[in-house]
């Protein structure tokens, strides 16, 4: 038995077995690792067929990029959300075996009964070696005969990347904006917020509260940015808050920092009952 046949059978056997293992593995991570093994063996098959460039591309793109991407997605998807091992209907499973067998028989019959001998091209090993190798030959044919397809495939890749960004980004971005609207507390002294519309989340506007304190004329409206609303309502206001004074020159200066903070010993109408009242935007 010639050596190339032995190598072919080794590579083919490993690739088919790992493909079966990929389909049959219960753990998706095991499936991905089996598929990596299968693709490495397919790269070996490509080398046997004289396609060294494609073998390298197979290793880099498939096992290096796509399957690592699959593993990242597997890492990000909660394992609780993964469906159980094939729980497809038994009829569906048997039907798939039947269809696979029928298709294998058909393809086998076609391959065995194939008699057409294609015309020989000029890409003999001698000619490929004359232009410098497989990579040079592939580059020559891609950039001359398949130039339009090459440009089209660059367009496809660009659109694919844009589609992936559209699928992945805006929801995350919307979440971020939404959370920011929730955590930026337009906090200010009680009773000075009558001009503000009711909050975006549908909370009860303070405008309708009959017991609310009348606005003070000299109240400076202060925007305090906190990441946690409860942090603001501890009322000692120790530190860590970035305060933005929107009252212009009137509220400027460090002495006005505590001017409108309700004090514990001050009048109790200024004291918010709970944390929710104080930062209604």
């Amino acid at each position: 038995m010639p050596w190339d046949l032995i190598f072919f059978y080794i590579l083919a056997a490993i690739s088919v077995l790992t493909a079966i293992g990929m389909v049959a593995a219960r753990n998706p991570v095991h499936s991905a690792v089996f598929l990596v093994l299968c693709f490495l063996n397919v790269a070996g098959i490509f080398v046997m067929l004289g396609a060294e460039f494609l073998a390298i591309v197979q290793v880099i793109v498939y096992t290096g990029a796509i399957l690592v991407l699959v593993l990242f997605v597997l890492m990000l998807v909660d394992p609780e959300e993964l469906p159980s091992f094939y729980t497809a209907a038994p009829l569906q499973r048997y039907l798939s075996f039947l269809l696979g067998g029928v298709l294998l028989l058909q393809i086998g019959a076609v391959i065995i009964s194939r008699t057409a001998i294609p015309p020989r091209g000029d890409a003999t090993p001698q000619n490929i070696a004359a232009v410098g190798g497989n990579v040079q030959a592939i580059g020559g044919i891609i950039f001359s005969e398949y130039l339009l397809a090459f440009e089209a495939i660059s367009l496809v890749l660009t659109v694919g990347i844009m589609g992936a960004i559209v699928l992945a980004l805006p929801e995350r971005l919307g979440d971020k904006i939404f959370n920011r609207r929730d955590t930026i507390s337009l906090s200010h002294t009680r009773g000075t917020d009558e001009a503000l519309p009711s909050g975006p989340r549908g909370e009860t506007p303070i405008v309708n509260d009959p017991n609310r304190v009348q606005p003070r004329a000299d109240a400076a409206r202060r925007v305090i940015m906190v990441t946690d609303p409860d942090e603001r309502t501890t009322l000692d206001g120790s530190s860590g808050h970035r305060t933005y004074d929107t009252s212009g020159a009137r509220g400027a200066g460090a002495s006005s920092q505590q001017r409108y903070r309700p004090r514990n010993s001050g009048d109790e109408t200024d004291q918010p009952a709970n944390g929710r009242n104080d930062h209604n935007g």
């Binding site: 046949l5 072919f8 083919a12 690739s15 088919v16 493909a19 990929m22 389909v23 998706p28 499936s31 598929l35 299968c38 098959i45 067929l49 004289g50 396609a51 494609l54 793109v61 498939y62 990029a65 796509i66 399957l67 991407l69 699959v70 997605v73 597997l74 990000l76 998807v77 909660d78 959300e81 469906p83 159980s84 094939y86 497809a88 569906q92 798939s96 075996f97 298709l103 393809i107 086998g108 391959i111 194939r114 294609p118 020989r120 091209g121 890409a123 490929i128 497989n134 592939i138 044919i141 005969e145 398949y146 090459f150 495939i153 496809v156 890749l157 694919g160 992936a164 559209v166 699928l167």
Partner: protein, 102 residues
């Protein structure tokens, strides 16, 4: 046995393609289905390269370059869809995904 011919590679290609097809038909995890589609694409690549090897042309290999590029774009979009589904619908089970059906 005998000489190593194109039929060997075609049978290997058919075997890998059918394994991938059965995986698509039987599994319910979208990620496994995605990997099975990649396996089917690779099986077709083997056929293309084998035919080019038989006829001593480079057209098959040039085709495979484009198929791999399309597979990469498909991977980006498909995995983006899987991520969006797992974030939104909390499931990557194809039986649970009916948003386009109703």
């Amino acid at each position: 046995m005998g000489e190593l011919g194109v039929e060997h590679f075609l049978f290997l290609s058919a075997a890998l393609f059918i394994i991938g097809m059965m995986g698509v038909l039987t599994r319910r995890n979208m990620l496994i289905i995605f990997m099975c589609v990649e396996l089917m694409l690779t099986a077709v690549n083997i056929s293309l390269v084998a035919f080019g090897w038989e006829s001593q042309t480079l057209n098959g290999q040039a085709f495979v370059v484009f198929v791999i590029a399309v597979a990469a774009a498909e991977a980006a979009v498909g995995l983006g869809i899987i991520m969006a589904l797992s974030r939104r619908g909390k499931s990557v089970d194809v039986a649970d995904i009916q948003a386009l059906r109703d």
